[in-house]
């Protein structure tokens, strides 16, 4: 039994819903009590979907438990197949139905229905949403492809010369992070190197599309959280190679093109040609619609331009799903020149990879799904920017630290109307803007330092923090509330505290933390103005 206040992931059947809702021609009958239908609103509200998720719930109640809940499953299956006429049916149960053991999948399989039935067994008391999505995608793919599995030892036919290579994009799903736009961007990227995208799944795919997966030359595992088990199985059973670099960021996009190029025997040198630094970025008629000019990213030049100098060494805390955490760590350090002060994930499935990456950055990875632990870690690290999920956005808001959302769990504002991919060249542009804007623009930071003594300047007028409620609740002098565990540190003298209040708010937390740590190691009990400056000299900026 675990005490949980907020959860990063829903139960595994919500993962299954994400697969069903992503697809066309798939319906999901879920044996679940009344109330579990709340999950519909995740899709209709957060993603503003104009259709109900293709899910029929049995919604049994206490009075049904003494009777025939198994019969309710059969009625629901029959009605759903009649009404929605799916090409394939997923049948499963939520946490409560798991306890009453009606085995809805087996019941449905015995009904002699004319469509493939996938019996989903998703253990609700030990697994979570992403696992459920991956398992569902795998089970559905396996069910639809099992009659195509080649005999052991069979070799894949070699692609004839002159035939365009084809790939599948596996993993984009409903309620993923920017999947819709990532797919567009990756298709564009692949188009540039002459590679055709055959099947995109589960997003927008039908069961018939899944049956075409083996026709491609390569699978691209775009989101391992959802697609890894299926990609692994296709690699084993169909000898289909799989590209596993996730193209988020400049370096990763280049690696991705190289990996795909190598796997397909395609020359990608032109696509990898470095951009002309600071080249004229004016609009020209040749660049209008239909231009064949290669897409490129402004991130490298923007990051080198002098205005970005102020980004150097900004302390960044990253917490996300495995894929986005790893990508963010690489971009933050290698492409924006930040300093990584924390790296973690709630995806236990990626714990190993994230641990290894954290070690490379000289950090201990934070692998947890406990929101309070993450909050504590962020408070302790006193970063200047948090890259996280909606949960970290709330933590950051409370600590008055700028934040950008880079991963699920998401809220409605993470599904923008505009084109906002994370992957490929344009994704890198989007990332540059969304990560850098919450920080102060270089000049603005300088000006605030210069004018902060002026009476017009009021702490809290921080336009980069989201409107309203972001104002720190504490009075300015005590606003370094980021120092969780401050009670352990030395006391502040009145003058010391007043001097701390003069430090610009965006570094005040760090200064407080450094000073308290300094006082603690020196055994200083009362922190004075002198202690503050001694600590400053000791720590450097």
């Amino acid at each position: 039994m675990d005490l949980t206040l907020w959860t990063y992931e829903g139960p595994p059947h919500v993962g299954a819903m994400r697969i069903a809702t992503s697809m066309e021609g798939v319906h999901y009958v879920l044996h679940a009590p009344q109330g579990d239908t709340y999950a519909d609103l995740l899709f209709t509200m957060i993603e503003r979907r104009g259709k109900r998720p293709p899910v029929t719930y049995t919604t049994f109640q206490a009075r049904d438990l003494g009777g025939d809940t198994a019969e309710m499953v059969k009625v629901s299956v029959r009605e759903a197949v009649e009404r929605f006429q799916p090409q394939a049916l997923l049948v499963g149960e939520s946490c409560t139905a798991e306890l009453i053991q009606d085995q809805p999948g087996a019941l449905a399989s015995g009904m002699g229905l004319p469509i493939p039935i996938v019996n989903l067994e998703l253990p609700a008391y030990s697994k979570k949403e992403n696992w459920g999505a991956a398992e569902t995608f795998y089970q559905l793919g396996r069910r639809l492809l099992k009659d195509q599995v080649p005999p052991p030892g069979a070799t894949r036919p070699v692609r004839a010369p002159g035939v365009r290579p084809k790939v599948n994009l596996l993993g984009p799903s409903a309620l993923g992070f920017r999947c819709r736009d990532d797919v567009t961007e990756v298709c564009r990227l692949l188009g540039e190197i002459g590679v055709q995208v055959s099947v995109v799944a589960p997003l927008g795919a039908s069961p018939a599309d899944l049956r075409r997966i083996p026709e491609a030359d390569l699978n691209i595992c775009l989101y391992p959280e959802v697609a890894k088990p299926l990609c692994d199985w296709l690699e084993r059973q169909f000898s289909m190679p799989c590209a596993r670099t996730v193209p988020i960021g400049i370096g990763a996009t280049r690696d991705f093109l190289q990996e795909v190029g190598a796997a397909l025997g395609v020359d990608v040198t032109m696509a990898l040609r470095p951009d002309v630094v600071g080249a004229s970025d004016l609009w020209s008629p040749q660049r209008g619609g239909g231009s064949t000019e290669r897409a490129r990213s402004r991130l490298p030049w923007y990051s080198r331009s002098v205005d970005s100098t102020y980004l150097t060494g900004k302390r960044v805390f990253v917490f996300a799903d495995g894929t986005h955490a790893l990508a963010a760590a690489r971009i933050a350090t290698a492409e924006l020149g930040f300093e990584l002060v924390g790296l973690g994930t709630y995806s236990r499935e990626s714990a190993k990879l994230v641990r290894a990456a954290a070690r490379d950055y000289g950090l201990d990875a934070l692998i947890t799904d406990d929101y309070l632990t993450v909050e504590q870690a962020i408070g302790d690290a006193a970063p200047e920017l948090v890259l996280g999920t909606q949960m970290e956005r709330h933590i950051a808001k409370r600590l008055s630290i700028p934040c950008a959302v880079i991963s699920t769990p998401i809220h409605v504002q993470d599904v923008p109307a505009r084109y906002g991919p994370q992957m490929g060249w344009e994704g890198a542009n989007v990332i540059f803007d969304t990560w850098v804007h919450p920080l102060m623009m270089g000049l603005e930071e300088h000006l605030i330092g210069m004018f902060r003594e002026d009476f017009e300047f009021v702490d809290g007028h921080q336009s980069h923090l989201h409107a309203g409620g972001s104002k720190p609740k504490d009075p300015p002098a005590a606003a370094a509330s980021a120092s969780v565990g401050a009670e352990k540190a030395g006391r502040w003298s009145q003058e010391g505290l007043a001097e701390l209040g003069k430090v610009p708010f965006f570094v005040r937390g760090k200064v407080r933390r450094n000073t308290e740590a300094f006082a603690q190691t020196r055994g200083i009990e009362l922190i004075t103005v002198d202690t503050l400056y001694e600590a400053k000299a000791h720590h450097g900026r």
Partner: protein
Amino acid sequence: MALIQQSDAALQASGGCAQPLTLLRERGQREVFCGLTSIVWLHRRMPDAFFLVVGSRTCAHLVQSAAGVMIFAEPRFGTAILGERDLAGLADANDELDRVVEQLLERRPEIRTLFLVGSCPSEVIKLDLANAAQRLSRRHLPRVRVVSYSGSGIETTFTQGEDNALAAMVPLLPHSEEESLLLVGTMADQVEDQLCRLFRQLGLSRVHTLPPRCSTDLPPVGPDTRILLCQPYLSATARALQGRGAQLVAAPYPLGVEGTTAWIQAAAGAFGLAANAVQPHLEAARQRGHQAVARYRDQLEGKRLFLLPDSQLEIPLARFLHQECGMVLQEVGTPYLDRLLMAAELAQLPTTTTISEGQHVDRQLERVRATRPDLVVCGLGLANPLEAEGMATKWSIELVFSPIQGYEQAGDLAELFARPLARRQRLHF
């Protein structure tokens, strides 16, 4: 889940007067929240209480998703998520629960009342939370009292969670022989203040509320307590209070000017005040209320309304929107029909009204599509899909979060329904 359609042409409202309303009873998929959802407003009402759901990851996910209230960094509700080990042995589950409660109370020393909230899985594995609450109370009293109730989906629909929570508090209420009025059901503090002010003007000085604003400030109850329900979903609480000797005042609910007037008059009548003596005290507020509602009547009059079952507020809302705003009722869905608590409301509905009890959501949506109402009141899961089909919608959950009762809010209530219509008029693409 066969449709049990009773063309119950003469639904007997328990008031005794025959209502030629049509009652449609349906069974099938119910697109409703479970009782856990009511934690979202209950925890706001009693800031010194904590609501601990004993359930699954689904429960935790539901409360956080349904509410969309993740703004609270550390909320006063949480979930003790059952793991495989808890399912294997109930003895362990009880030990684990004690440990989690210990951990929680240590972290939140300001908590005075802890509600253990039962869920579908805890009910199915028969985890005895009543027993656990007694055991934990013994350990933590006088600092913290532990109470239990069920908010499970197999037993409660949405607002029934509040009903069970309040019913669980009834045995704790002190006994009193004094004559008093007990307002039952959560309303916004501001609304409650307005209504209490009116009761004071009428000379009713001992007015208490359940739930109280502070979980330890429990209202007294006894044979001279008159219960006035502020919300229509409190069947179990009303029964429990009657069990303590209190007398239930039959009244409609304080939605709209007429609803509020009848509600206050009913309470006043129970204390022997004559209607014509009460009326002058209400007149100013009534006038203001009428004026505020009138502003929206033009937009609402003649518009056809379809209410899907969800919050249990559907019948009183339908009465207000028909009677005071002139809307035409196509179908009034309700998760369940408590004829006793709805008697005064049903009596005021036009005789042509179709009431549906329970739900078969696909069939109901077929009726919505067939009748093309001007406005559909529904849950969040259905709102955008219906809008995408060209129908204006009002989310029912907003009605349990917004201050809507009383005279001063009558206009706001009408506005909630006028807004989706007004918005459609503004937009041109």
